[in-house]
């Protein structure tokens, strides 16, 4: 998955660069505006559909007890607070930096969505922050699991329901499977809502 995403990103960037600097074959807005908006709307619809159709996730959550929801909500609060402080330190738009952190590692969503809401510069920042979150989760897991059994789940954020789930289970033990999945699922579900809600506050 990751290599297709990076290939698409690089091909897009090269195409955009060439088109912009060597004779505008097509209007930039055709891709940056129409194609981008259309695919973002389609993706959000599909994500919603996948959440609605996912019967097992809600059943798993119910079985594990709603108490485990404190974990994803702590991760959400911690991430957004980190975004706020980061924005203040860097003297950039704090709503944008909070929205970026509210991607919880889901870079394919956070990059484009933040880009749509706060402009392309923050979109690029949002993609990089969340992309690195997934990489860092995997790269540092043998160390982070020593901080706390659930620290890798906090690192993984939204990715702990799919891409980082196998590694987390390997290091945190199989009993953490439900926690990792439920936390990642909850964060994935609230990510698009928190990002847009933060943009509405701005």
């Amino acid at each position: 998955m990751i290599k297709y995403i990076l290939t698409a990103l690089i091909l897009g960037a090269v195409a955009g660069y060439l088109n912009n600097n060597f004779g505008n074959l097509i209007a930039n807005n055709w891709v940056s505006g129409y194609l981008f908006d259309f695919s973002l709307i389609v993706l959000l619809f599909l994500m919603g559909l996948a959440f609605g159709l996912n019967r097992e996730a809600v059943a798993k959550l119910r079985k594990a007890g709603l108490k485990i929801l404190v974990v994803p909500f702590s991760i959400a609060l911690g991430s957004i607070l980190g975004g706020l402080i980061g924005g203040l330190i860097l003297r950039i738009n704090v709503f944008a930096s909070m929205a970026i952190s509210a991607g919880y590692g889901w870079y394919t969503l956070a990059g484009p969505l933040v880009g749509q809401l706060f402009g392309v510069e923050f979109g690029a920042l949002g993609f990089i922050v969340n992309f690195l979150r997934e990489l860092l989760t995997i790269a540092t897991i043998s160390l982070t699991v020593k901080i706390d059994k659930y620290a890798p789940i906090a690192f993984g954020g939204a990715t702990s329901m799919d891409t980082t789930l196998p590694v987390i289970v390997r290091y945190s033990g199989s009993e953490s499977l439900i926690m990792a999945f439920s936390s990642g699922f909850t964060l994935s579900l609230i990510a698009p809502f928190t990002i847009t809600a933060i943009a509405m506050l701005a």
């Binding site: 891709v31 159709l53 974990v71 980061g86 690029a124 906090a154």
Partner: protein, 90 residues
Amino acid sequence: MLDMLNLMISLIIGILLGLLLREKQHFDLSKVTFAAVVVLIFSMGFTIGSNNDLLASMQSIGVNAIIILLLSIFFSVAFVKLARRVVKLE
């Protein structure tokens, strides 16, 4: 404002439709979702690549990214540790 509403609405329509259809049959959305992601990321790349000012500021964006990321992860872990103690979660 309209943009945010459009985005929120398409997500909510998706969720409601999914809830309605969940008893009907099994859907495999992975292929079409993958296609949407690839097109979206391509057009995001295009937007970045066609913005010369943005390309010039990539280095500072990278530094900013690392600072925001490390703070987000630090507080995520701290809050999870704290919450586990408060609610006595195993």
